[in-house]
Every structure is written in C-alpha cells, then in structure tokens.
C-alpha cells in the first residue's frame, strides 16, 4: 500500500517537474513586476520602431509649414521642428534608428565578445595573454573619440554605427565572459566533464556557456541602454544616422537652438532616450532575479 502510494506520488511529481522547467521561469517572470514594466515599455517602443507608418500622423520628412518651428498645438501635439516637420512623427520614426543600432551593436558585441572571452578563459596561456592585451588596447581608447574617428573616416551609416559601437562594447562582454569562464572552469563539474571524455568544444558550449549565461544576459540588457546612449551621443555630434533620417540624438542637437520656441522639440526625444534606457535596466535587473537557479524553488 505504502509502496504504491509512493509510486503514484512519484509519477505525479514527474509530470509536475516535466512541465515546470520552462514554466517556472515564465511564472517567475510573471510575478516580477519590475521586469514586466520594463518589458512593456520596450515592447511599446519596439512597436514604434517596427510600424512607425501606422502610428505616426505624418511622414517624418514632410515639411508641413513654411514658417518653420511651431510650439505644440491641437493639430501638432508636439509642435513642429525648425524645418517645419512634425516632431511627434519624427520621434516615432526615431525609435527605429535607436533600436536597429542598439540591438545590432549589442548582438555583434555579444557574439565576438563572448566567444573571445570563452576562448581566453578556457584555453588560457599565451592565447589568453594575447586576447587580453587586444581587449586592453580597445578599452584604452576613449569611447567617443574612437567612434568619432571611425565614423568620420567611414561615414555615418547604420552598418558603420553598429560595427563601431559593437566593437567598442565588445571588450566588456569579453572580460565578463572570461572572468566567469575562469571561475567556472575551475569547478569540479567541468573537471568531471573532462573525466567523462567530453571534447573541449562540448565542455565550453554545454557546460561553461550555460553557467555564464545569466551575467551575460543581464549585461546585454544593460549594454542595450549604453549603446543606445552612444548612438544618441554620436548622432548629437552629427556622426550618427545622417539626416533626414530621424534619430533621437540628432533631434536633441537640432533642437538646442530652439528651446524657447518649442520646448517639447527637445524634451520628447530626451525623455524617449531616458525611458528606454530605464526600461532596459529594469529588464536587466528583473532577468537577474528570474534566471537565478537558486531561487527556482
């Protein structure tokens, strides 16, 4: 009797556990309000970036008034910019530049950085020394100076922006991945993978990578914010996305002379940058809690 009870509870347990591996993370995400709030904001901005033509009232490049700048009115809720274009529409379209550049550059930084970090941390020796010196060399450049240099030479296009920011941010991922790899590689479970006879490739991808993925995920969401800020900075300096394509950073630059005529021309893109970066950080913080395996119970 007792035994059969045990078996029944075992079977029940198995079903519950089977379901819950992915579901646990999902449930924990649902309960994490910081994360949900951040995610909601990001989704909203992502919608702006994906379908601006359905959301924006006007074309971003159409000149609606010959007299140029206008303050907010019922017709133009955020007013017109110095060339008479609708600020609201330009803010909506500007989300696209921010998203493309931030996701593109973080993807590049992530791929290159994490691979380099894993190699450097696991292989060690001379390979590690060489990779680390290269990373140091990149880090030694002031971020903006480096970006200004490359973009001034190559010209500001999406590809160049993504590559430049990705390269600038890559060493941070590489260092994080290297540090985590170093600490994980010393663990007994990595040694036991070796003892079992796994290849280096399998150990790195199947044992080490899953164990360093949490700090990297958190870092990526924070990096999205930083790269967006760099993009805004560069655009503000006139090196980012080239006009007439709207970009939040560039809008702030253009609005600087017209604060008195239309305050919202400057405030709105600034707020958009602020809110998206905040959202990325909230998501990053939330992910750190959600993905922590020790809190899974």
């Amino acid at each position: 009797m007792n035994q059969s009870n045990e078996i029944v509870s075992e079977i029940l347990e198995e079903k519950i556990i089977r379901l819950s591996v992915g579901r646990k993370i999902f449930n924990r995400a649902l309960r994490n309000h910081t994360f949900l709030f951040g995610l909601l904001i990001i989704i909203l901005f992502a919608l702006l970036a994906a379908f601006p033509e359905y959301i924006a009232p006007h074309e971003p490049t159409t000149i609606l008034s010959d007299s140029g700048i206008q303050p907010q009115s019922t017709k133009y809720p955020l007013g017109l910019d110095n060339l008479g274009r609708d600020v609201l529409s330009r803010v909506v379209y500007g989300a696209r530049a921010s998203f493309i550049v931030s996701f593109g550059s973080v993807t590049i930084a992530l791929l290159i950085g994490v691979s380099l970090g894993l190699i450097s941390g696991y292989v060690g020796g001379i390979v590690d020394i060489v990779i680390c010196r290269i990373l140091d060399a990149i880090l030694a450049f002031p971020i903006l100076l480096f970006a200004i240099l490359t973009l001034a030479l190559l010209g500001g296009s999406y590809t160049n922006l993504i590559l430049t920011i990705g390269l600038i941010y890559m060493p941070y991922f590489a260092r994080l991945a290297r540090g985590s790899t170093l600490s994980i590689a010393k663990k007994e479970y990595v040694e036991s993978s070796r003892a079992v006879g796994s290849s280096t490739w399998r150990i790195v991808t199947r044992t080490i990578l899953p164990n360093i993925i949490v700090p990297i995920t958190v870092q990526s969401s924070l990096a999205l914010g930083v790269s967006m800020l760099i993009e805004a900075n560069l655009s503000f300096l006139g090196l980012g996305v080239q006009p007439p394509t709207p970009s939040w950073g560039r809008m702030i630059l253009e609005s600087a002379l017209y604060i008195r005529q239309n305050l919202l021309f400057m405030l709105t893109p600034g707020l958009c940058i602020f809110i998206t970066i905040l959202a990325y950080n909230l998501v990053g913080d939330g992910l750190r809690d959600i993905l922590d395996p020790k809190l899974m119970d």
Partner: protein, 327 residues
C-alpha cells in the same frame, strides 16, 4: 605473466606544480612537489585504499592516474598501456574505461543541467546508445541502479540532498561501464548516516560489475571497510603499503602508527586504553620538503641517516612494503 592481473601499474609518478614569478617574463621559482616519485599497482577487482592527511597528494595522485592532471614524470600503465604517452584524443576514448567520483557532490554536478542531461553526457560522448528512447531507458536503468527514483530525471541538482547527489555522480561514472573508478573521498562531504549507504552502494556495484577502485580517504575506518590493500601517503611519498588487516594490526611505519592511533575505538574499555601518538610540529611545505625521509621532522625514531637519505619502500614479507630505516 605477473602484469596480467595488474589493471593499473604506476611507476615513479611525479606531479610537480611549478611556481612562477613575474607577469610577462615568467621565472621558475620552484615546484610544489605534490606527488614525488611513487610507485604502486592495483589488481583487477581490487580496492586499494589511499590514506593520508589533507594536502599529502592523495587527490593529485588520483587525478594524475586519470591524466586529469598530466604528471611531470613517471608512467601510468593501464592494462599495460602507458597513459602518460597518449594524446588528448586517445585519452578521451580511454575515459570509457576509467572514471572518477569526486569528493564534493555539491561541486561536481553542473547546476544548469538536469539529471537526465548530466547522465546523457557520457552516453552521448561515447555513443553508447543508438536512439533517444534507448538512451532514456538506459538513464532510468542507471538511476534505479544507484537507488534513485527514475521520476527524478528532469530535476536539477539543487533539488537533491548530498547523498542523492553523490548517487548521481556515481551513476554518471557508471554510465560508460568503466573497469576502474577513482573514488576521491566520495563520502567525506556527507553525513555519517549517509556515508554508510554510499559505501554499501559502492561495494554492491563493485561486486556486480567487477569494478576496481582506488579509494582515497582520510577516514581510516571507512577505508578499512572498503579496501583489500591500503597505501599510506605522507607529503607526496608512499610510506607504507600492506594488506588491509596487516596494516591495521602490524603497521610498521611511524606515520602509519600515528595515523592508526587517531582512530577512536567503538569499545569504551578499549578506547580508554588506547594510546594516542600525538605528532609534534606541522607538515613541512611540499615546496621545500625535507631532504631525507619526508617524515624525519616529526618522527620520534629519527636518526642522522633519516635526515640525509630518503628511505626506499622495502618488502618486509607478504606484500607489506615500508619506507623506513628503523623497523
């Protein structure tokens, strides 16, 4: 002829960890002599207990046999083949025949992998099963073999107790159907009540699969229960090897005597009569060990020759080897 039943034969094994100084231009400043010139062998189906205090090189010996740490010098013959000469690729294949159970079951399981994934690793690496369903069946079989409910297959290591985790570690080692397992203090991280279960499990598995163990421990009573022969190690050197009972009743080396005298006895009357040999001083540093006998700094029988020439292991009859001048 003799080598036929020797599964493992270790000749002059040395593991030195270099101590380097400097960042770019590294200078060799010395070595940590973790294992210094030891030789012994293990026969098929035998359990050799390896005892000694912390830091004497027991675990390093175990890892060096499996080539998880490459020895500095010496040879490890596994079925007559020198493992120190095989490259990493050949070794990976050999790992099917030799496995290790680590000391700390909390550290030796990947916290990001479920039990099923942990147990699939050896199966996939050595292509033991042909299909996915066959693999699942095999994993469940392994789990029940070590006394775990197969229903736990999707669980993660942190959901298990220390004893259960150690069972998983043992199941992983068994998955490749090895002949030889190094048990690196498999029970010292566990509760005493659990220790007995795990030891009995290891004994059962040994008789079921004709396993050969190198059983590393610092707890002499555990080793006594498990082993056929016992080797005593001190500061990277073997000081005595003998059959189980022989060592317990007729230990010769002063260090073995001191070690044995530290084991409490179950009978309170005998326990009162037990004379403890309390050693003075500390273990010397393995970076700068004594020139002669490693134990000479703490030995009560020490004479001039001990301090100058390191004693060799000598056969004193019946497979009992001792490295001491004063017997």
């Amino acid at each position: 002829m003799e080598s036929n039943n020797k599964l493992i034969d270790i000749k002059n094994l040395q593991v030195y960890f270099p101590i380097n100084e400097g960042i770019l231009i590294q200078r060799h400043r010395g070595d940590c002599k973790a294992v210094d010139d030891i030789s012994f062998n293990i026969s098929k189906g035998e359990t050799l207990g390896l005892v000694g205090e912390s830091g004497c090189g027991k675990s390093t010996t175990g890892r060096a046999i499996l080539q998880l740490i490459r020895p500095t010098a010496g040879h490890v013959y596994f079925k007559g083949e020198d493992l120190t000469k095989s490259n990493n690729k050949e070794l990976r294949k050999k790992r099917r025949e030799m496995q290790i159970v680590f000391q700390d079951p909390y550290a030796s399981l990947n916290p990001r992998a479920s039990i099923g994934e942990i147990l699939s690793e050896p199966i996939e690496v050595h292509k033991i099963c042909k299909s996915k369903s066959e693999k699942n069946e095999y994993i469940k079989e392994l789990m029940s073999m070590v006394g775990l409910a197969p229903g736990f297959i999707a669980r993660y290591p942190h959901e298990f107790s220390g004893g259960q985790r150690q069972r998983i570690v043992i199941a992983r080692a068994l998955a490749v159907k090895p002949e030889f397992i190094v048990c690196d203090e498999p029970v010292s991280a566990l509760d005493v009540s659990i220790q007995a279960q795990i030891i009995n499990l290891l004994c059962d598995l040994q008789s079921k699969f004709f396993l050969t163990y190198l059983f590393i421990a610092h707890d002499l009573s555990v080793v006594r229960h498990m082993s056929n022969r016992i080797a005593v190690m001190y500061l990277g050197k073997l000081v005595e090897i003998a059959d189980d009972e022989e060592l317990y009743h007729h230990a010769q080396h002063p260090y073995s005597l001191a070690l044995l005298s530290s084991v409490p006895l179950a009978n309170p009357k005998e326990e009162k009569l037990r004379k403890r040999i309390v050693l003075e001083g500390d273990v010397p540093s393995p970076t700068n060990p004594p020139i002669g006998c490693r134990f000479s700094t703490r030995c009560w029988r020490v004479t001039d020759i001990c301090r100058e020439v390191s004693p060799e292991l000598k056969d004193i009859g019946g497979g009992h080897f001792v490295a001491c001048y004063h017997l």
